[in-house]
């Protein structure tokens, strides 16, 4: 077994606990002293830094949600002077819900460490050639795994996403051994490799796949078709990016980097902390971040934690693959889509709120369809007027979501309603193992 930071990754539970107690107190004082938004939030809750003496007191702190991030946009949650911050990253593609996170150089170093742990956990060494085909830029996928690969000392191919032909050329010419991308892109690459008859020319042994929900069936499919081991990685831009947790060779849950993040499972309705092993919403508190610490950030991912010892020797607690969402966010083509954004566009175009979102996956490509019920206002005896309206809606959705949605006009009252309420989202992909 190889570890990037053996003493930390295999530390005793007592040691991990001691780090968490100490670093939580430090982080709470840091945000109290340096971030007015947090100070006000804590005051509203009647909590002062002195009330938080260990992680046992964590429950006293208020939750932070995506709404807070939007309210505080852009600089409200920055907890270091701008002069100390060196980078931002941002969530994918959406205008309505864009989230930005700040990093000091130290924050980036720790983030890179987390990704390096993930790469070594799948068997990566300095002898490996790591092909990173997550997007580079505002998206955290590319920069995160790129930094981790550097720390491991692997030869890093900063491919970014897309341009499959070039991906395959570098993969075969340079003998890439580890690939990092979304699981759906891995499936697409597998298909392209087979079509091009390149299966014998690739040297891949492992893949690190994240940024989307994926099932055990997808894992088996990717492993068979590429002849590799496929590993999951988890993270959120808000918390740094990929590497908040990662799978080891046991492929039995993702180890949370507990020296940097404290995980809780709560009841999404009441906010009550649930005992270990319960299924609920995953909440993270960052305890080492400087520029953008998040206290009790609600991920909306439904999950289970497991602190049983792992065969890999790592002692950090494991999280299961997320089993769903406590909100209605969809991830389509790697982009976060909220039904409320689609509704907003339809209403702005004078349409009723009778709509339905259908997400499907043909082969390995996601499709997004927005069905809109025809209304007397939208209807015209000339086709030109209606197709123009369809085009307008399509373009407005593209501007809002960043991805193309097919707009279909359907008959009045043809969208099925249950108990009087329309079923807004039909996701045919079955991305969660339940």
């Amino acid at each position: 077994m190889a570890y990037f930071q053996k003493e930390i990754e295999t530390a005793s539970r007592e040691q991990i606990r001691a780090w968490q107690d100490e670093r939580l107190v430090k982080t709470v004082n840091h945000v109290w002293n340096n971030c007015e938004y947090y100070r006000n939030k804590m005051k509203d809750r009647g909590v002062e830094p002195g009330d938080i003496r260990s992680r046992d007191d964590l429950y006293k702190l208020p939750f932070l949600t995506k709404d807070d991030l939007r309210d505080a946009y852009p600089y409200g949650l920055m907890s270091m002077p701008l002069s100390e911050c060196v980078r931002i990253q941002s969530t994918s593609g959406t205008t309505g819900k864009r989230v930005i996170a700040f990093y000091t150089q130290h924050d980036i170093d720790l983030w890179d460490d987390c990704c390096a742990r993930a790469i070594m956990a799948v068997g990566g060494t300095k002898e490996d050639v790591v092909q990173v085909c997550y997007g580079y830029g505002l998206f955290t996928g590319g920069p995160g795994l790129n930094g981790g690969s550097h720390k491991v000392g692997s030869l890093t191919l900063p491919m970014s996403s897309g341009n499959t032909e070039r991906q395959l050329q570098f993969m075969t010419d340079l003998g890439a051994t580890i690939i990092c991308c979304t699981p759906s892109y891995a499936q697409y690459l597998a298909e392209s490799i087979h079509e091009a008859g390149l299966r014998d020319k690739i040297k891949l042994k492992a893949g690190i796949f994240g940024a989307e929900a994926w099932t055990e069936e997808m894992r088996r499919d990717i492993e068979e078709r590429l002849g590799i081991k496929a590993y999951d990685i988890y993270g959120l831009t808000e918390l740094s990016g990929p590497g908040v947790s990662f799978e080891c060779e046991a492929q039995a849950g993702m180890h949370i980097n507990e020296d940097h993040f404290i995980a809780e499972i709560i009841d999404p309705d009441t906010g009550e902390v649930l005992p270990e092993g319960s299924k609920g919403e995953l909440v993270f508190t960052s305890i080492t971040k400087e520029a953008f610490p998040l206290l009790r950030y609600r991920t909306k991912d439904i999950c289970v934690l497991n602190s049983a010892p792992c065969s890999c020797g790592r002692t950090h607690i494991r999280m299961a693959k997320p089993m769903g969402r406590s909100d209605d966010m969809l991830i389509v083509k790697g982009v976060n889509v909220f039904p409320s954004q689609i509704e907003q566009v339809l209403l702005s175009k004078g349409l009723t709120s009778n709509y339905q979102i259908v997400v499907d996956r043909k082969g390995v490509t996601d499709s997004l369809e927005v069905r809109v019920e025809m209304t007397p206002e939208l209807f015209s005896d000339t086709m030109g007027a209606m197709t123009q309206k369809e085009t307008e809606i399509t373009e407005a959705l593209k501007a809002m979501l960043g991805i193309l949605a097919k707009v279909s006009i359907v008959g009045p009252k043809s969208i099925v309603r249950s108990e009087g309420k329309a079923v807004r989202v039909i996701d045919k992909r079955n991305l969660y193992n339940t």
């Binding site: 209807f379 005896d381 008959g411």
Partner: protein, 144 residues
């Protein structure tokens, strides 16, 4: 001088048109003319019927989306060159046509009728009447 046309939204699925004609048949409404325009997803059924207002009412009651549009109906001789003579007038006078369709009524002495949907009815009516072309109105349609 215009006539009233019914336009009905039809989903692209089996039986969508039959649903419309069935309702009209049961109400004893006669269809004088019809045309269908369609995209990949849906169609528009355009009808000239014996009782437009009643047809609209019964179709709307069946949750259909129906609108009434004023269109021009031109009488032409049902002989070779009949349609062409009308189109020449339209072309010579730069009248834009959104869509058109034709129908014949067997007992009207070899006459055919062309329905024209244009952006500006008044202007098109003036052009056609100046050229000596006969237009028909709703009353005539009802008497067919």
């Amino acid at each position: 001088m215009t006539i009233k046309q019914l336009s009905i939204f039809a989903e692209n699925r089996n039986g969508a048109l039959y649903t419309v004609t069935d309702i009209l048949a049961k109400e004893n409404i006669d269809i004088r003319a019809f045309s269908v325009a369609d995209t990949q997803d849906f169609g528009v059924l355009r009808l000239i019927v014996s009782d437009t207002d009643k047809a609209k009412q019964v179709l709307a009651a069946a949750d259909m989306i129906v609108s009434i549009t004023d269109v021009i109906a031109v009488e032409i001789p049902d002989t070779p060159g009949g349609l062409s003579s009308i189109l020449k007038v339209i072309y010579d006078n730069n009248v834009a046509v959104e869509y058109m369709y034709a129908f014949v009524i067997p007992h009207t002495n070899s006459k055919a009728y062309v329905v024209l949907r244009v952006p500006d009815n008044d202007a098109a009516v003036a052009v056609l009447q100046n050229a000596g072309i006969t237009l028909i109105d709703d009353r005539t349609v009802r008497q067919f």
